[in-house]
C-alpha cells in the first residue's frame, strides 16, 4: 500500500522550485519507478511534486559545444536520440538496457542519478563524458561534477530543496565508444558489471582513452591511471595487457579483495582486453 500524500503537478521549473522551497516533507517525483516502489515499502512524504509535465526538463540538444540533457529526459528518448547516439553512444546504449521497456518509457536520467544506485547503468557513460550537473533551488544554481555528486551508494549532495535540472556532457563524436554490461539476464536485471569507454585512436596510437567502470567498486569510477598509461602508447596487445593489469590492481586498491572478485575480475579482464583491442 502506498502511504497517503498530496500531489502537485507543476508545468514550469519555477513553479516546482517554489513548491520545493515552501513545502516541508516534499519530494520530487519523476518516473516513479524507484520512488513509488520505495514508498510502497514504507517511505513516506507529505507532498509529491510530479515534475513530468515540465517540458523544459526534457530533451537532449547541442548547446555551446556540449550536449545538454534535461534531467527529465526518459531512458527511452535518450536511447533513441540521434545526437546522443552520435556523440555519446555509451549513454544511448546504457539507457537502452535499463530495466524493461516500460521502465525506460517512464524512468528518467535525473531520477536514476538522484537515486544513486552503485549499479545504475547511466553513471559510467556520464563519467566518460565528464558530465556536469545543474542543481537549482530558489536560492540559486550550482554546477557539480557527476563524481562529486554521488558521495556514497544511494547518497548524493542534493538538499531536499534542490532540483537536478540538467546534465551537460562533452560530445565525443570521433571516438570509438560503447557500454557493455554483465547481468544475470537481459531484461529487468541489475548490472553486475558495466564498462563505458570512449577511445580516440590516431595512427595506431591511443590519442585519448576514457574508461569508467560500474558495479565493481562502491561507486562507479573513472580508471584514470589506466587512461594515463595508455595515452600516447601504441594500440597493441602488449600495451593493452599491461593496461588491463593496472586496472585490476586499481579495482583491488579501491575495494580490497571481495568474494565476488573471483568471478568479476576475470570478466573485467576479458571485457577490457576486447574493448582496448578494438574487438
Amino acid at each position: 500500500m502506498l502511504p497517503h500524500f498530496s500531489s502537485l503537478r507543476p508545468k514550469t521549473k519555477g513553479e516546482a522550485l517554489t513548491y520545493l522551497s515552501d513545502l516541508d516533507r516534499a519530494k520530487l517525483l519523476a518516473g516513479g519507478t524507484d520512488l513509488l516502489v520505495r514508498m510502497k515499502r514504507g517511505e513516506s512524504h507529505d507532498y509529491l511534486i510530479d515534475i513530468t509535465a515540465i517540458e523544459e526538463l526534457s530533451g537532449a540538444v547541442l548547446n555551446g559545444g556540449r550536449i545538454r540533457v534535461g534531467a527529465g529526459t526518459t531512458h527511452r528518448s535518450l536511447s533513441l536520440s540521434p545526437l546522443v547516439l552520435e556523440s555519446a553512444r555509451s549513454l544511448a546504449q546504457a539507457a537502452s538496457w535499463i530495466g524493461s521497456p516500460q521502465i525506460r518509457t517512464m524512468g528518467t536520467i535525473g531520477g536514476n542519478l538522484v537515486n544513486a544506485s552503485p549499479a545504475a547503468d547511466s553513471i559510467p557513460p556520464l563519467l566518460v563524458h565528464d558530465a556536469l550537473l545543474t542543481l537549482e533551488s530558489m536560492d540559486g544554481e550550482r554546477t557539480e561534477r557527476v563524481e562529486d555528486f554521488i558521495i556514497a551508494p544511494y547518497t548524493t549532495t542534493t538538499t531536499g530543496r534542490e532540483m537536478l535540472t540538467a546534465l551537460s556532457l562533452e560530445p565525443l563524436p570521433a571516438y570509438e565508444e560503447g557500454y557493455r554490461r554483465v547481468a544475470k539476464r537481459a531484461a529487468w536485471a541489475i548490472s553486475r558489471l558495466g564498462i563505458a569507454w570512449s577511445i580516440l585512436e590516431q595512427e595506431g596510437t591511443f590519442a585519448d582513452v576514457r574508461l569508467a567502470i560500474g558495479s565493481c567498486t562502491p561507486l562507479p569510477f573513472r580508471a584514470r591511471k589506466v587512461e594515463r598509461f595508455l595515452t600516447g602508447r601504441k594500440r597493441e596487445i602488449a600495451v593493452t595487457r599491461e593496461a588491463v593489469k593496472i586496472c585490476l590492481d586499481e579495482i583491488r586498491r579501491i575495494s580490497g579483495e571481495r568474494p565476488s572478485f573471483t568471478y568479476k575480475l576475470p570478466v573485467v579482464r576479458d571485457l577490457l582486453q576486447a574493448i582496448l583491442g578494438g574487438r
Binding site: S7, R9, K40, A53, G99, M106, A187
Partner: protein, 159 residues
C-alpha cells in the same frame, strides 16, 4: 482531489481522482476495467501495463493525475466478445493464452510494438515483451502470435 480528463479506449472521459491515486486503481475501480491487473505492485511483472499515448506504462507506478489530457488504452480497446481483434485471434490460434492473467498486458505490448514496427524481428518482439512475465506459456507461443498478426497491422498502415 484532482479533476482529470483524458481519452480512454477512444472515448473522452473525466474523473475526480485522489492526489495519491494510482492509475491502476482509477481504471479498475472508477472505470471497471478489470483487465488491468495488479500482481507484484513494483513494476516487475507487467500485468498492470496500459498504453499511454500508445506506449506501454506500468499503471501500478503511475499517478492517475499524470494521464490528464492524454490517451489511455486498455485491452478493452482492441476487441469485444462479438469481434475479437486480429492480434487476439492470433493469440488464440497459437495457444498463447493459458491462465490468461498476463494476456491483456501481453496483447497491449504486442499492439504497441506492431504500431511502430510493421514487420518486427524476433529480437524486437522479445525486447518489447521483456517487461512482462508469463508463467504458463513459455513465451514462444506469444512471440509467434505477435509475429503472425503483423500482416494485419501492415495492411492498416497509413505510412
Amino acid at each position: 482531489m484532482k479533476s482529470i480528463s483524458f481519452t480512454l479506449n477512444g472515448k473522452k472521459v473525466a474523473s475526480e481522482v485522489d492526489d495519491d491515486e494510482l492509475l491502476l486503481a482509477t481504471l479498475r475501480e472508477r472505470f471497471s476495467l478489470k483487465s488491468v491487473k495488479e500482481a507484484c505492485s513494483i513494476g516487475e511483472c507487467g500485468v498492470c501495463t496500459v498504453l499511454i499515448d500508445d506506449e506501454p506504462h506500468y499503471s501500478c507506478l503511475t499517478l492517475a493525475s499524470k494521464v490528464d489530457g492524454r490517451d489511455v488504452k486498455t485491452v478493452e480497446f482492441m476487441g469485444d466478445m462479438d469481434m475479437l481483434h486480429p492480434l487476439q485471434e492470433s493469440f488464440i490460434a497459437h495457444g498463447a493464452v493459458q491462465c490468461g492473467y498476463c494476456t491483456p498486458a501481453m496483447l497491449l505490448v504486442g499492439y504497441s510494438l506492431l504500431l511502430k514496427h510493421r514487420q518486427p524481428t524476433e529480437a524486437q518482439i522479445r525486447e518489447a515483451m521483456s517487461g512482462n512475465l508469463c508463467r504458463c506459456t513459455g513465451y514462444i507461443q506469444i512471440i509467434e502470435a505477435i509475429r503472425d498478426a503483423a500482416p494485419f497491422f501492415k495492411s492498416q498502415a497509413k505510412d
